[in-house]
């Protein structure tokens, strides 16, 4: 067993895990944070996207042990109580999801991207989402949601913790 100590959504969490435990299973099974989904076994789909030290990574392509000492943000940190994060709210208003499976990964990828570029073009958003696949929406409304969120977030106070 390996001892890992990770700051997850602002709280320090520590556990002994099998060295082979992937970060996504540490989050889902050890910590019970099941908002992060697993959609493939080829590191392709991006539904497992979380932020590590503020940057988007695929949590299925990283060991929990590799996150030791680092800061992880998952979809659970986005809403404050009943108040959705502006990106979540924009997905809601623009029908940015159907089944919702890809959505946590989409929201986290968008959150990290909008930190970097708060005023993206449509093309920028499509490029930023190339690592996130959706089987339902055809992407149109996802892109629309993120552009809408960018609009409502610019000028607004910092809302993501990453």
């Amino acid at each position: 067993m390996t001892n890992v100590s990770v700051t997850v959504n602002g709280q320090s969490r520590e556990a002994d895990v099998e060295p082979r435990t992937l970060l996504v299973y540490f989050l889902r099974e050890t910590l019970g944070l099941t908002g992060t989904n697993v959609g493939c076994d080829t590191s392709t789909c991006g539904s497992c996207t979380v932020l590590v030290d503020g940057e988007s990574v695929k949590s299925c392509t990283m060991l929990a042990a590799q996150a030791d000492g680092r800061d992880v943000t998952t979809i659970e940190a986005m809403a404050h109580g009943d108040t959705m994060h502006p990106i979540q709210d924009a997905f809601h208003r623009n029908h940015g999801l159907q089944c919702g499976y890809c959505t946590p990964g989409m929201v986290m990828a968008a959150a990290s991207y909008l930190q970097e570029n708060p005023t993206p073009t449509e093309e920028d958003v499509r490029e930023a989402l190339e690592g996130n696949l959706c089987r339902c929406t055809g992407y149109q409304n996802i892109v629309k949601s993120i552009l809408d969120a960018a609009g409502s977030m610019s000028g607004a106070p910092e809302t993501t913790r990453a």
């Binding site: 082979r20 992937l22 392509t61 499509r126 190339e130």
Partner: protein
């Protein structure tokens, strides 16, 4: 479904280079960004201890030394894309932005791309066109190999089991050289290359080519330079030569038929991309 990191072995996290080399000497699989390693080990457990070199800080830096640019093996594609470098690196930086997606660029490293040695590795053609070398280090010492000597075949390298790739070294190129990278995939995003081409071109003030280096990937087990075409292009004007000359110099390529494209298509595409890569170096002068 991928359940676990597919290993039931020790996980080692050396904090510095000395410890990393010691552990590697004792035997183990190196883990850098994991973006090649984890997908390859789904359902195929690793049998050796895993040495996570992510904690070795000195492997992360990209530095400008008197004779060469030195990319630490752990420089991630996101770092390469974001670092301010001279124009001869534009092709490498463009390739960095084509590796997978943002998430893959935030994890995947230059050293991992070279050690994995896929014929479709996007980092290889730009580094071949830059005459790059690799620094290989073990507890017994350091050696430097030219990248074309390091890459010995399909997914094969000259890396010894006790060595780490510690840096990629790029000698100073001709002043003001421009460079470009063109990748063809079957769709626009997140795609394995069908063909990719990297070019570095230096030209005189009247637009004549004084130095040109071209490399083609995904058309042979190891990406290749095109020395005879390079020789033929010197002294020509970059914006004015018969593109038909390109096809005559692609004889060393041995593309295959596979699910992504036929060999004939790859030849055709290689010829077109070489032309476009050269044009890109000529434009905006």
């Amino acid at each position: 479904m991928l359940r676990e990191g597919a290993m039931s072995v020790d996980y080692l996290a050396p904090a510095d280079m000395a410890a990393a080399l010691e552990m590697r000497g004792a035997g183990g699989t190196v883990l850098a960004g994991g973006t090649d390693l984890f997908p390859q080990h789904v359902g195929r457990p690793m049998t050796q201890p895993v040495i996570d070199i992510g904690g070795v800080q000195e492997l992360r830096d990209i530095v400008d030394t008197p004779d060469a640019y030195r990319f630490g093996a752990l420089a991630r594609w996101a770092d390469v894309a974001d670092t301010d470098l001279p124009s001869c690196f534009d092709g490498l930086r463009a390739a960095a932005r084509e590796v997978g997606s943002v998430q893959v660029q935030n994890s995947g490293t230059i050293g991992g791309n070279l050690c994995n040695a896929s014929p479709a590795a996007d980092g290889i053609p730009p580094l071949l066109s830059l005459d790059a070398s690799v620094e290989l280090t073990s507890t017994v010492g350091t050696r430097v190999l030219r990248l074309d000597e390091f890459l010995t075949g399909y997914r094969a390298t000259a890396l010894r089991p006790d060595e780490l790739l510690t840096a990629v070294l790029v000698p100073r190129g001709p002043d003001g050289a421009r460079s470009s990278f063109r990748k063809l995939g079957l769709r626009g995003y997140l795609v394995i290359s069908v063909v990719m081409v990297a070019a570095v071109v230096a030209a005189s003030s009247d637009g004549r080519i004084t130095d040109v280096r071209l490399a083609v990937g995904a058309c042979s087990p190891v990406a290749q330079r095109l020395p005879s075409l390079e020789a033929e292009l010197v002294d020509r004007r970059i914006d004015d030569f018969d593109a038909a000359v390109i096809a005559r110099h692609l004889g060393a390529l041995t593309p295959i038929d596979d699910v992504r494209a036929t060999a004939a298509y790859r030849f055709e595409a290689a010829s077109v991309l070489v032309h476009r890569a050269l044009q890109a170096c000529g434009s905006e002068r």
